[in-house]
Amino acid sequence: MTDSNTTRREGDGGRRRFLGGLGLLSMAWAGGLLYPVYRYLAPTIPKDPFDAEGKAPVEGVKAEDIAQPGQGRNAGFAGGGLVVFRTPEGELRALSSKCTHAGCNVEFQGGSIHCHCHGGVYDLEGKNVSGPPPKPLTRYRVAEQGGLLYVYRPDKA
């Protein structure tokens, strides 16, 4: 009686271990199957928009479009949207146009920069001055070369 009980218990333990191992193996197998599915769906890392010198061409605006102080445009480069403008003093500036609040594109309005989605306002330095934005806009160094505009990688600015 005792013997057979012991045997059964040992048998159960063995079966449990076997099923446990099988469970682990199945999970590893499912993981192996799901990994390619995940990689298929996961976005690929975008190409670096800046060249070896750390600069990238601005699309959608030329130097002549914003030749006068107080002129500005929404534009962009491979790395995202920009507002490119001249301050009333005539300085050329480029800021990321992605509002730090909810990601809408901001608009240059002469003396300040506005976001129409939730009413955020930034000054011409890109600093958030009113409304919901929590942070300033990223500022890029911008330069003109042969009528075209280029922005530079922020850490090299």
Binding site: P46, G60, G80, H116, C117, H118, P132
Partner: protein, 370 residues
């Protein structure tokens, strides 16, 4: 009778038309081949309590009716919609395809009315305390369905690829990105990259026309099955009545028949709204352009939109936490309510429900007029 045929139960024979009539013959022939009488019997069991709040019971069926319209018009829109040239193909539906503008507008209005009906369904279940044990499962599945329907709205909104859809998607995904934990990962997976592009459309399209419909159909099945098994909930005032005063209507087909005129009226309203206020197609999305003035989300996201404006700077996270906590509290209500009529918790749940309803309406109206 051949031995592999089934005997038609006595009960069924009583219900079926006489054997010499065509329908009676067909019924007997079918039941002899498919012994499904227990299923028929199970379905016939459903009965609807009759009381002065009973009109609210119509909301679930009405939402299902709008969902059927969504499936039908959605299939029609898919015939011409091209995810590779989204705005152009929607413009073609609106400008060139006969009745295309009508089909698209019905899809738009039916989505809105479906969400509205679901809100009414949810609040009526809440105030009639239909979520109480043993119906926690039905309540939770219902909440999940409301969430999925809002995801339907959000994913469908991007597909026309106009100014409104582009920035609405930007805002939604940016908020998701700021959520702690899986937020950034999920936002990037949905967006398909660091910015909203036509790659995002592919993902939203698949969600909108395949993944969400399958999920919603499965959950609707569960929701209805739970109601069928557990029977309809009776509000306290009705449950307290003596048995002889409780009146019920059989769901099949007495109550069902009474729903049909309501659906027809809803359909008439739907077509009228679509004809009078067809859904506009804004300018094609310009990923570098500024967000247009006066941009606003659909009404069912206006409360969140207004809350986003009200919590500036670092307080933003407080606003987001509030938005996350409301659905969580809704999910926990059945486990908090001890279902004792005299219990003070019941009163608190009612007050919280009124506060939620008033808060939602106030924020929505405020967002609308501001």
């Amino acid at each position: 009778m051949a031995d592999h045929m089934h005997t038609v139960p006595e009960e069924a024979l009583k219900e079926l038309p006489p054997a010499h009539k065509a329908l009676g013959k067909l019924g007997r022939a079918l039941l002899a081949r498919f012994p499904v009488w227990p299923i028929v019997d199970f379905l016939r069991n459903k009965k609807v309590p009759e009381h002065r709040h009973a009109a609210w019971y119509m909301m679930g069926g009405l939402a299902l009716f709008f969902f059927a319209i969504q499936v039908f018009t959605g299939i029609l829109l898919m015939v011409y919609y091209r995810p590779a040239e989204p705005w152009q193909s929607v413009q073609r539906i609106v400008m060139e395809v006969p009745y295309g503008n009508l089909m698209r507008s019905i899809h738009h209005w039916s989505a809105n009315l479906m969400i509205l009906t679901l809100f009414l369904h949810m609040f009526s279940a809440y105030f009639m305390k239909a979520y109480r044990a043993p119906r926690e499962g039905t309540w939770l599945v219902g909440l999940a369905l409301l969430g999925l329907c809002m995801a339907f709205g959000f994913s469908g909104y991007l597909l026309p690829w106009d100014d409104l859809s582009f920035f609405a998607t930007n805002v939604g995904l940016t908020e998701m990105e700021k959520a702690p934990g899986l937020g950034p990962w999920l936002a990037s997976l949905l967006r398909g990259g660091p910015a909203v592009t036509t790659d995002t459309i592919g993902r939203f399209y698949v969600l909108h026309v395949v993944v969400l419909p399958l999920a919603v159909l499965g959950l609707i099945g569960m929701h209805l099955l739970f109601v069928q098994i557990q029977g309809m909930s009776e509000p306290d005032s009705f449950a307290a009545l003596p048995a002889c005063q409780k009146k019920h209507k059989k769901f099949f087909f007495d109550y069902f028949a009474s729903e049909i005129p309501v659906w027809l009226a809803a359909f008439a309203l739907l077509v009228a709204l679509s004809a009078i206020w067809p859904r506009a197609l804004e300018a094609e999305a310009d990923p570098f352009g500024a967000a247009p003035l006066g941009i606003k989300p659909e009404w069912y996201f206006l409360a969140q939109y207004q809350a986003l404006k009200l919590f500036p700077g670092k307080l933003e996270y407080a606003g987001m936490a509030l938005m996350g906590i409301v659905p969580l509290l809704c999910a926990l209500v059945p486990f908090f309510d001890r279902a004792v009529p005299s219990d003070r918790r019941g009163t608190w749940i009612e007050r919280a429900g009124v506060a939620l309803l008033v808060g939602f309406v106030v924020l929505t109206v405020w967002g609308w007029i501001s």
